[in-house]
């Protein structure tokens, strides 16, 4: 059970980032958690809620996008989703495929009130 530590890291990173934009209010933190990351999304949500309540940061929310395991086939060059531990390429059937993704533990984006995106790459929603 290290989700409390992970939740604290999420909150700390997000708050540090939000502080760089004075006058804004942090409302939602979006994270990506891969199914091979060894992090339980439910425990992460629960830990996050506890931290937010403790620090009086309501109504700050956490949105977790879970990411499946994907393998890449070096022959077909296609990436495919792995179900039931079956690593064979659906294109050519080879079992010699490479790990592509599924161990994500990433801070994807922040939703902030009164934030005016100016930087390149920032988008409004």
């Amino acid at each position: 059970m290290h989700e409390l530590g992970i939740a604290a890291s999420v909150l700390q990173e997000a708050q540090q980032e939000a502080q760089r934009h004075p006058g804004t209010r942090l409302r939602k933190i979006k994270v990506r958690v891969g199914e091979l990351a060894g992090v339980n999304p439910e425990a992460l949500s629960f830990s996050f809620e506890v931290l937010v309540r403790d620090a009086g940061l309501e109504p700050l929310e956490l949105e977790i996008e879970t990411c499946p395991r994907q393998q890449r086939c070096p022959a077909c060059r296609q990436t495919f989703r792995v179900a039931e531990y079956d690593l064979r390429c659906p294109g050519c059937g080879t079992a010699e495929t490479e790990f592509a993704s599924g161990d994500e533990l990433e801070l994807a984006s922040l939703e902030m009130e009164d934030y005016e995106p100016t930087a390149v790459g920032a988008k409004s929603s």
Binding site: H2, S9, E13, E17, Y85, L87, L107, E111
Partner: protein, 226 residues
């Protein structure tokens, strides 16, 4: 409401410190191995057998992590090499800052091989990079052969799987082939060594594997220098 894209790792602070440690280990030619397993799989015993076979001149050191007690450090110090205990006081894993701190006030020690024995736990240590050259996961034959499927993260991130306590195979219903198969489903390239610290079977392969990693590190350093 506006959105600010970040696209960074949650544990970026840990990863920053780990990257610094990795750079330092590479500069100093230190091979650092991070041993991870469930409690009781035999990490400390494996280290005992490993240390006792080294000549006294070997520049090897151990950092051993536990939630409480100095017991493991006391066991490992008997072989005369520098050993330091990190007691986490409740935290279920070691993180890069704990390693940085332990090394900072251990300046008198220089080594070519540094073992980190993580807290006994197959889940949390997988998330924390310690700057090691390789993670080594230990699975004993008294556990289930489906553990790689149940705890995929650590098997995916480890370079070597040590299957320990093989002297017990006649007494337990452990399917060795299934265990290896399950580990390779998660991580097809994982190396596997089967050993018993009681009989000594397989310890030669374990030492050879470490030796190979040392050579790898030296040839990498040589390539950088020339």
């Amino acid at each position: 409401m506006s959105q600010l894209p970040l696209e960074r790792k949650v544990l970026s602070e840990n990863d920053r410190i780990a990257a610094e440690l990795r750079r330092r280990f590479a500069d100093q030619g230190v091979l650092c191995l991070n041993l991870i397993s469930s409690p009781g799989s035999g990490k400390t015993t494996l280290l005992e057998r490993t240390l006792e076979a080294f000549p006294p001149s070997t520049r090897v050191a151990v950092l051993t992590g536990d939630i409480q007690t100095e017991n493991d450090a006391a066991r490992l110090r008997r072989f005369g090499f520098p050993v330091r205990q990190i007691t986490t006081g409740g935290t279920c894993h070691l993180d890069a800052r704990m390693i940085e701190r332990a090394l900072a006030d251990w300046r008198s020690v220089s080594c070519d091989l540094l073992f980190i024995e993580n807290v006994g736990n197959l889940v949390c240590p997988a998330s924390y990079d310690l700057g090691e050259a390789a993670k080594v996961v230990v699975l004993s034959v008294t556990e289930g052969e489906d553990k790689p499927l149940k705890y995929p993260a650590i098997f995916l991130k480890s370079k070597l799987l040590v299957l320990s306590k093989i002297d017990l195979l006649p007494y337990v219903p452990f399917d060795m082939a299934a265990a290896e198969h399950n580990a390779r489903v998660i991580h097809p390239e994982i190396d596997v060594v089967k050993l018993s610290c009681l009989t000594g079977a397989g310890l030669e392969q374990w030492r050879a594997w470490i030796e190979e990693r040392c050579h790898e590190l030296q040839s990498l350093r040589g390539a950088v220098v020339t």
